[in-house]
Amino acid sequence: MQLVGAKSSQRLNDVGEGSVSLLPVEPEDMWHANNLISPEDVIKAHAVRKVTTESKTGSTHSERVHTDLTIRVTSTFFDTAASQLHVSGTVIVENSFVNIGQYHTLDLELSRPFTIWKKNGWDSVATETLKESLKQDKEGTVAAVVMQEGTANICLITEYRTILKQRVETMIPKKRAASSDQTSGMRRFFDKTLTTLMRSIDFGSPRPLLLASPGFVAGDFKRYISEQATKKADKAMMAMAKEATVVHSSSGHLHSLNEILKSPEVLATMKDMKFSKETRYMDELSARLRKDDGRAWYGASTVVKAVNEGAVGRGGGVLMINNSLFRSLDLDTRKKYVALVDRVRDDGGEARILSSDHESGQRLDALGGIAAILTYPMLGLDDDEDEDEGDGQNGVIEEDLII
């Protein structure tokens, strides 16, 4: 995403009450925009609107006009697979085509700038999101195929999210006397997976490819790719086979990505990416939870308590919070969480906002979307949890195609 417009010269630090004009340039930016835009914000963007005019005789005439509209956001919808963001709201600036108060849904487009005003100013979380979205040095995305016999999940791991592009499922005959059936079944499965992979992920420029499976499936698949590449004399495919890394995973389900991202092969290529740090924190959290030493807690109420006690501070305190908690909540809750993040930062701890669209975020989601590693053990934090158990459930909602 790029800063544009008259204010593009202004330093990011100065972003206060004012507006920011942004130019999304790649699909990932839409995801950032989705995190940035929350209800009650004001968005000005290019729009295509159908305008119907009625003549004196009563005949109607409608046409599609290109115009700039300014709306107050009521809701956003992010299409993960297509990376499209739809922002709905009411028009607040009248022009010749629309009246105040009419509804419109803006489809934010790539290479078309939009301007955003925050109703309640830019808080620390929003500023950080904006900073992140403006980061230019993007690491390349990684394609991964998590497979087992008969199932393959083709996904794209970007810095901020994991996109499940396609799932391939084939029935492979089980062991019978005629084993040729089985072999041909495997070939069919590989063939289907390969064509789907080529179709759903662009290998035009070489990008790393991870093949993960239990047993030998991934290795066989890699061999199959190079076989096919040789047969078809397909340079791109040959390069792809060469780039492919075979990683062991314990199952072919998508959540095995967790193991894959930890594997040394992956860490070597992607150690600086945001998610690998987050994965490390998540691992530390679960290790501590295992030990049950009183230094790891999850769930909103307990974490809030711990933060208020100042337990998440200098010297190893980490607050992990899913960005989904900031997205759709009402303002008060959002403020509460922002205050939580600010408090931790003030205390000298680390506050990490995890992408709920990523593997580590998904794991955090399972824990209620918020967790903390404390600097010192606190016991019995969950004793009176019964009172406000509703809070902890907030994050445990969505599990669609995204990890």
Binding site: M171, P173, K174, K175, R176, A177, S179, D181, Q182, T183, P214, G215, F216, D220, H248, S249, S250, S251, H253, L254, H255, S256, N258, E259, S286, L289, R290, D292, W297, Y298, G299, Q362, R363, A366, L367, G368, D382, E385, D386, E389, V396, E399
Partner: protein, 858 residues
């Protein structure tokens, strides 16, 4: 008067007669022999013939009746004396003065054994006089034609599909006739020709399905007691088309037919030879592009699958034309044989076989006689297909001969397609018959051997597969020759010691890597028991397969590698995990086989040490020692397996051999009276059935003809036949490993791991469930793999409502942050997809390649 009118008045009867004897089948020959003029005549007669034409002479019935009678008598020649005038007239009345049909009827009905020759030659004589045109053109003698016809028929007969037009004419006509013929009765003439040539049917044995039973003495059996002929499922050629109510064809069609005829003229000279040539080539034909290739092949494919279920009882019949089918009531005089409208036809189905076999005393409503079902209306190709193919043919003059081959193939394809369409309508095909047995009673009465299944588990490379290979070899289930063959192959791969394992490791991958990947099933019998072996993989990556095996087993054989270092490695590895899984899958009896003891010189110390350690951790995992026994063996050499060890160093062991231990095992109690449940562990095709599933019946019973429900797809299927232990049986009960051949279901609805269940008490598919789980590792809200038998899916622990007391089952702590290993907790799991699960099932939760919990579904 237009030329057309002239044709109308042409004495077509003679034309028809002339073909009586010589046309063995179909119109192809007749069209070949005819001059263009003649053909035009036939064409016009056949296509434009309408009842009024017949009656164009002013005085209708009585005069016609007389004329008809004479004609019939003529046609019958010498045989005429065998029938009375009254009979003839009755027949004529039935057939609406259609002389040829009447003759056919009379010949089959009243003249016990009609002499083909007589019927044939007589008209031919006539023909010589009148049909000069034929002579001009090509003048094959009637005999030569007959021979030709016969020979082609003989070629055709063996396969009903191979029958098809030998020439362009035939195929195009039959294709076109599929629909138009039935709608317009356009091929009357040809149809009649067939009917009046008894000789030809006899040479072809069965011409149309109904004709096949022609000479049956139906007598005066009332109509309602007559059998219902289910028309065979090939496309309706329209060759026998309706006799008396042709409708004027469309101009387009006329044009098409004329063009086609022209095309034939060009090649007519060579056709005679072609006929045989083409029939011979038919089988090698590349299938021509079908009109709807995707659908067509799909249907054809489907048809093949379903074919033998639905159509078994229908004898293979050469492609016969459909029964005189649709007669448009429009131009018909309000006369006796009023035929249904095309609409009625569509609704009710086509007409039954020519009504000749029904001696009617009174006339029924037309559709009362229709027996075939509605679906037949769609059994032919669509009108579009028909018209398109007719047009394609008509415009394809140049390629006449080659296209004749093609269309012949096309015909076959159509044939299959239309059968496929028929097969699609699954409710229409007969359901497998149920014997309505009281399975439980049968089961109690049966004196079968007890059947027991056991799973072989252990750490990777403990020698599980080799052990079982040896067992099967010593029990003569596999012969030495096979083993020798395997050994040779294995040697060439540098793994000669794997030869025995290859008995069970059949997959190419498994052999090349020397690792069992999937469960292998095999069976053997002793005097008292029939055993099913489930050879599980030991590698940690294939634990899901091992779980699948363990879920089907009554008891387990735990193989422990006694060689130095290997045992210790195994104890840390899968030996322990497998034992844990067995316990959580409800297996309580374990035979511990201490394998490879020969490598440590049959050391008793080693055996005792291993026994002690293993029993230690088995007790720790809640096995009772009385259910655990130890046998020292050498799997590779076979000591103490079937035969006692002959090695003097092993003489200290006096206990049972492995096979004795196996025989002592009792099957678990079978839930035979519960509703049916069976987890599908294999799906495959057999020659017997296009879709068969194998697995162990977990609960309940089933028998042939039962309707079943497949979950999670929720599709219904029927049991066509059953196999237990490779023997065809009528029923199967819980505990048996059965193969079910299914019908009435598409294979896409069935996957390995699905559950076959009772239709009335099906398993519900759920995505959130609670289990009471024993934690082997720390549990917290996390992502897990959920395993239940063959089934495994991704899921997530969403909530841990309580930790329970191990003994009392009371709640110790509500909503714990984590569950410690070894404690029992109530855990709520949500799955990504719905799975067929029900209370009481054993669930295993795994994460990151380790078993973290197992428990019962609540």
């Amino acid at each position: 008067m237009s030329r057309h009118q002239a044709y109308r008045n042409y004495d077509y009867e003679n034309d028809l007669d002339e073909f009586d004897g010589e046309e063995a089948y179909g119109e192809e020959e007749d069209e070949e022999e005819l001059s263009p003029e003649d053909k035009g005549t036939v064409f016009n007669i056949t296509t434009t013939l309408q009842p009024p034409v017949k009656q164009s002479d002013t005085d209708p019935h009585s005069a016609q009746m007389e004329a008809g009678t004479i004609q019939v008598q003529d046609a019958l020649g010498l045989q005429a004396s065998k029938v009375t005038a009254a009979q003839i007239q009755e027949a004529l009345w039935h057939y609406f003065y259609d002389v040829d049909k009447s003759v056919a009827y009379l010949v089959t009905k009243h003249i016990a054994s009609p002499e083909p020759k007589a019927a044939k030659t007589a008209p031919v004589q006539k023909n010589k006089g009148e049909g000069e045109s034929k002579a001009q053109f090509s003048s094959p003698t009637p005999h030569s034609i007959l021979d030709l016809a016969k020979s082609s028929l003989e070629q055709i007969l063996p396969s009903p599909y191979a029958y098809g037009g030998n020439t362009l004419a035939h195929t195009s006509r039959s294709v076109a006739g599929l629909y138009l013929g039935s709608l317009y009765g356009i091929t009357d003439g040809q149809a009649d020709l067939r009917e009046v040539t008894p000789g030809s049917y006899q040479s072809s044995k069965h011409f149309s399905f109904a004709d096949f039973f022609n000479d049956m003495p139906w007598g005066n059996i009332p109509k309602d007691r007559e059998t219902t002929f289910i028309a065979p499922l090939y496309p309706r050629g329209g060759l026998l088309g309706g006799a008396d109510s042709p409708k004027k064809p469309s101009k387009l069609r006329e044009l098409a037919l004329k063009r086609k005829q022209k095309a034939e003229e060009q090649k007519v000279g060579s056709t005679d030879q072609d006929v045989q040539g083409t029939t011979a080539q038919m089988s090698q034909l590349p299938s021509p592009p079908s009109k709807k290739p995707g659908l067509g092949t799909l249907l054809a494919d489907r048809k093949r699958k379903v074919g033998d279920l639905g159509q078994v009882e229908i004898p293979p019949v050469t492609k016969s034309s459909p029964e005189p089918s649709v007669k448009t009531p429009l131009d018909e005089p309000a006369l006796e044989l009023a035929m249904p409208s095309a609409f009625a036809q569509t609704l009710v189905g086509s007409a039954p076989a020519a009504p000749k076999a029904i001696p009617k005393t009174s006339y029924q409503l037309p559709y009362m006689a229709f027996t075939s079902s509605v679906s037949e209306a769609f059994s032919g190709p669509s009108p579009d297909d028909v018209v398109l193919s007719a047009q394609a043919k008509a415009s394809n003059k140049k390629l006449a001969s080659s296209s004749s081959k093609k269309t012949a193939g096309h015909d076959v394809k159509m044939d299959q397609a239309s059968e496929g369409v028929k097969a699609l309508n699954v409710d229409d095909a007969p359901l497998p018959k149920s014997k309505n047995l009281d399975v439980l009673k049968e089961y109690k009465n049966s004196k079968a051997k007890k059947s027991v299944s056991f799973v072989v588990v252990g750490h990777v490379d403990a020698g599980k597969s080799t052990l079982m290979g040896r067992l099967l070899l010593d029990l003569n289930v596999v012969d030495q020759r096979t083993i020798d063959k395997y050994r040779k192959e294995a040697e060439s791969m540098g793994k000669s010691s794997f030869a025995l394992a290859w008995v069970l490791d059949q997959r190419v991958e498994e052999r090349s890597r020397g690792v069992t990947i999937d469960i292998a099933t095999n069976r053997f019998e002793t005097e008292t028991t029939s055993f099913t072996i489930l050879d599980a993989p030991g590698h940690r990556d294939f634990i899901p397969n091992m779980i699948a095996g363990a879920s089907q087993a009554d008891f387990a054989v735990l193989v422990v590698d006694a060689s130095t270092g290997a045992f210790e490695a195994g104890l840390k590895g899968q030996t322990r995990e497998h034992a844990l899984l067995l316990r959580s899958m409800g297996v309580s009896r374990i035979i511990v086989v201490v394998n490879k003891l020969d490598t440590v010189g049959w050391s008793q110390e080693r055996f005792d040490e291993i026994s002690q350690q293993v029993s230690g951790f088995l007790v720790a995992t809640n096995f009772q020692l009385k259910n655990v026994s130890f046998v020292p063996v050498s799997g590779l050499r076979g000591d103490n397996m079937v035969h006692k060890s002959t090695d003097s160093a092993a003489s200290w062991y006096t206990g049972d051999s492995l096979i004795q231990e196996l025989e002592e095992s009792q099957p678990l109690a079978r839930a035979v009276d519960k509703p049916l449940r069976m987890t599908i562990s294999e799906v495959f095709k057999t020659t017997q059935s296009p879709l068969s599933v194998a697995g162990r019946v977990d609960a309940g019973s089933l028998q042939m003809g039962d309707a079943l429900l497949i979950q999670p797809s929720g599709e219904k299927a029927y049991v066509k036949s059953l196999e237990v232990d490779l023997e065809p049986v009528d029923w199967a009960v819980a505990g048996q490993s059965a193969i079910i051949h299914l019908t009435h279901i598409d294979p896409i609805h069935i996957r390995v791991g699905d559950i076959v269940c009772d239709l009335k008490q099906p398993v519900r598919c759920i995505d959130t469930f609670t289990i009471k789980a024993l934690a082997f590792d720390v549990l917290m809200p996390m992502q897990v793999d959920v395993h239940r038998g063959r089934l495994h899916a991704a899921g997530q622990i969403v909530e841990i409502p309580a930790v329970l007391d191990k003994v009392k089952g009371t709640v110790l702590k509500k909503k714990p942050q984590v569950v410690k290993p070894g404690s029992i907790a109530r855990v709520v799991v949500r799955l990504g997809n719905k799975m067929p699960l029900e209370a009481g099932q054993r669930i295993v939760l795994r994460s990151n390649g380790e078993t973290i919990a197992a428990g019962l579904l609540e």
